[in-house]
Amino acid sequence: MTAVSARFSDVRLSAPRTVGIVGIVLGCLAFWAALPPLAARTEALPIAVGILAIAAGIWAWSRDERRVGGGAIAAGFLGIVLGVVAMQSSVTNLDQVVVWSALGAATLRYATPLTYAAIGGLYCERAGVINVALEGMLLTGAYFGIFGAIESHPWAGKWAWVIGILCAAAAGMAMATIHAIWAIHFKVDQIISGTAINFLAVGITGYLFINRYGDTGTPGNVPDYGIPDVHLAFLQNWYFIGPIFGQLNLMIWLSFLLLIGTYIFVFRTPYGLRLRSVGEHPRAADTVGISVYKIRYIAVIASGAIAALGGAYLSLGFVHSFNENMTAGTGFIGLAALVFGKWRPFPTYAAALLFGFSSALADRLPIAYGNQWGTLFQALPYLLTLVAVAGVIGRSIGPAAAGRPYVKQ
């Protein structure tokens, strides 16, 4: 019993905690009940359920479960507001927008570049190097991915996407190396060097793109040799699951593997332990003979490769083209997901899904409600992260030594 509770020592289930979690679920229910397929029409319903959620949250809070309680209270409020708002709209409009299967698939698609960026950032920051250059690495991967595929298409045929991915990873690692040298060797402020990388990425990818593909843009036949979708025939006809999982891009499946792999690596292998020790207390790691510099270099360069893969997915697997600055802040949403998820793979993925959902919803809202609501919704991920960082949903504390250059005595 102690072994189990120790391994999941942060997820102890006590009564107040359970009540708090139930409160969060209730809050989500309050909103969900107003949406299709339930599409309840009485405003009393979300209000009632939401109040239950808030009550549960307050009770949990008073029993010292601040984070979960606060989350339940927030979820309760949000649920009431959103539920009532949803009821102001007609059922037909709701039906058009809230098509759960389409939303589900779109959520996964939007969440994937976020996932790659965030997981890349996870390795880097767990080693103690702050990485605000995820945006730049994502963009770099997007350009070099499609560049590699297009250029190799004549001889690689429909496997060009493999070359593309390799090219993207290499470019991402190159960018990350700059960040690594500046942050680790020159001990420059990591936020400044990260910001510089973002600028450089926009400029370099834009420059190379215009120079090479200038007026005409990337060729239109990219879908032929882009990253393929994985067709699961047996799933196609399953209700609800089918449309979501039946035809996902390969990179999305790989992202699941990446998540599991990252969890195992960081929390179940010796290398992961050393990685974390370097990020938490480099001096302690040094005194047991761990090479802080080496681990940090590897982590930063790896983060560049992983984030770039997310960019390659964006250009080669999702949009099938490249445009200047096409990532437009996705990297920062990824950073937000990482902070929101407290630098752990699965909570980070949950955050990425949440943000992906909000992007998917923003995509569909214009169908019934007009462009402007979709636009406004795009601000949601950032607002949520701001709230998280502000400590309402628990102060997000990263690896203790993140941001401080290590000076070996």
Binding site: T2, A3, A6, R7, S9, I264, R268, T269, P270, G272, L273, R274, R276, S277, E280, H281, R283, A284, A285, D286, T287, V288, G289, I290, A400, Q409
Partner: protein, 509 residues
């Protein structure tokens, strides 16, 4: 019974810029003994042990292990030779478990790739039972007590096969109860063949646990004697020594009204533990009250609390009759408190600021230094010129950045600023730390001067000569309490004795 020593350090010399930390130090450790290394702060104990653990390389000298000379260029090398160190500030990762901390970098593997947590747990339990160091392998380090954390540190060293253990001030962070438990552990380790070097300045504990005691003073070995037959007074004398006392000529004090009153003060430190326990004192105008004590016995927290920089758990502080117990620093300073902080670089000065700007650190807010929010640079300049002359500060003009001055002159600047603020109460914390003789003399003279001007001065120092030379009354602080009051005619041995807990049985309440 003379056996060849297990470990020998011969003629170790280590220089740092400006200080000779170890001067031809000879030290040896016999197998299965507990050898205490005694000395004041700055005596060179930590440097010597850092050399032994591979963190520094000696400029001269040799290290022999079992008669063979060895090179200790890195901690890894030291670990390989069986030397383990338990640092005073633990090298533990707070968010990781006990087991994870212990096995870090030498982790047992499962199928070569995964971390075998079960094996790690098992080995930790085995070790812990073998040496009597009870720990819970799955507990997170930041959630266990300090005593348990120390056990983890010891286990870390043992896990890597340490035969020689260096413990650096291990009881500095422990309660008396935990210290007793530690000694049990050390005895057990001894009986299992481990050899222990025990760095400390606490005389009573040294006598309780050590077989031999080596005393260091200012980088030089004073003597190595067996613990049996030694007395605390004798050790104190070796540790503190006879120095050229800089006794200042002064008139007897003429104390007036109490200007600083502290009653039943309880203050918590950064860890949430009580650092000041039920402390009361009074300082009158025209007297210097000296507080003697070993570092980290609550002096810093006491000063912080009085100066309004640290919250007070309970008790009362009054400056010039005004209650400032829960007031912020700004209010307390305005009420008539001057504060010469103990670390002039971190707390006393803004090094990139000019002397003129540094001198204005309190006064900048009010006229004539600022008028309606605008700085009156001319007034600041004039004041700076006056103060620099009055306090004989050398090395710069008002426009020189404070970083360019020598330590002594920097301290003069701090003094000038605080004294010019015309405080009723002046706190001087380690006012002559790191200063040369001339500067020390200057500071002492000034403090006496201010005393004669009617100010109440609270002097906190680790240097006994300073306390004895300046104070009109002396209080000794030990583990957050005042354990004795002495007149300035007390001897250093008496003070040293009380400072290291010798008088604690006699404390009334």
């Amino acid at each position: 019974m003379a056996e060849a020593p297990l470990l020998e350090l011969r003629g170790i010399t280590k220089r740092f810029p400006g200080v000779l930390a170890n001067d031809k130090v000879n030290f040896d450790l016999r197998s299965g003994e507990v050898h205490a290394l005694l000395g004041e702060n700055g005596a060179g104990k930590s440097t010597l042990m850092n050399i032994l653990y591979g963190l520094y390389t000696p400029d001269e000298g040799q290290i022999l292990l079992r008669g063979e000379p060895i090179e200790l260029g890195s901690t890894k090398a030291a670990i390989e030779h069986g030397i383990g160190m338990v640092h005073q500030h633990f090298m533990l990762i707070p968010v990781m478990t006990v087991a994870e901390n212990i096995v870090l970098a030498t982790e047992p593997r499962h199928a070569g790739v995964l971390l075998d947590y079960d094996a790690a747990r098992k080995r930790v339990r085995e070790l812990s039972e073998r040496y009597g160091l009870l720990v819970e392998p799955d507990a997170r380090v930041d959630r266990i007590t300090v005593g348990q954390q120390q056990r983890v540190e010891i286990l870390k060293a043992l896990f890597r096969g340490a035969e020689i253990l260096i413990l650096d001030e291990p009881t500095a962070v422990l309660t008396p109860q935990e210290a007793k438990e530690l000694f049990e552990i050390l005895r057990s380790l001894k009986s299992q063949g481990k050899s222990i070097i025990f760095i400390s300045h606490k005389l009573n504990e040294v006598l309780e646990i050590a077989d031999r005691v080596t005393t260091l003073r200012r980088g030089v070995v004073v003597d190595t004697i067996p613990a049996s037959g030694a007395t605390e007074e004798g050790l104190a004398r070796m540790m503190v020594g006879r120095e050229v006392l800089l006794r200042v000529d002064k008139e007897p004090a003429k104390p007036t009204d109490p200007l600083l009153v502290v009653e039943h003060l309880h203050v918590l430190d950064d860890r949430g533990l009580e650092a000041v326990r039920d402390l009361s004192l009074t300082v009158r105008g025209g007297e210097i009250l000296g507080i003697a004590g070993v570092d980290a016995n609550g002096q810093s927290e006491l000063i912080d609390a009085v100066a309004g920089l640290r919250p007070v758990k309970s008790g009362r502080i009054a400056v010039d009759g005004r209650d400032v117990t829960h007031e912020r620093a700004k209010v307390t300073l305005d009420a008539g408190l001057g504060h010469i902080p103990e670390d002039r670089h971190r707390r006393g000065l803004v090094l990139p600021f000019s002397l003129s700007e540094n001198l204005a650190l309190h006064a900048y807010r009010k006229p004539p230094m600022s008028i309606r929010g605008f700085l009156n640079l001319r007034a600041m300049l004039a004041r700076a010129r006056r103060l620099l002359k009055e306090f004989d500060v050398r090395g710069g003009t008002p426009a020189t950045p404070a970083a360019a001055l020598s330590g002594g002159n920097q301290q003069k600047v701090v003094l000038a600023r605080e004294i010019d603020g015309d405080p009723k109460v002046l706190i001087a914390a380690q006012p002559t730390r790191g200063l040369d003789v001339g500067a020390i003399e200057f500071v002492h003279r000034r403090l006496i001067e201010q005393r004669d001007a009617g100010r109440a001065i609270l002097l906190v120092s680790l240097e006994l000569e300073e306390i004895l030379s300046l104070s009109d009354r002396i209080l000794v602080i030990y583990e957050g309490r005042i354990v004795g009051e002495f007149p300035p005619t007390a001897t250093e041995e008496e003070l040293g004795f009380a400072m290291t807990g010798g008088r604690r049985d006699e404390v009334a309440a």
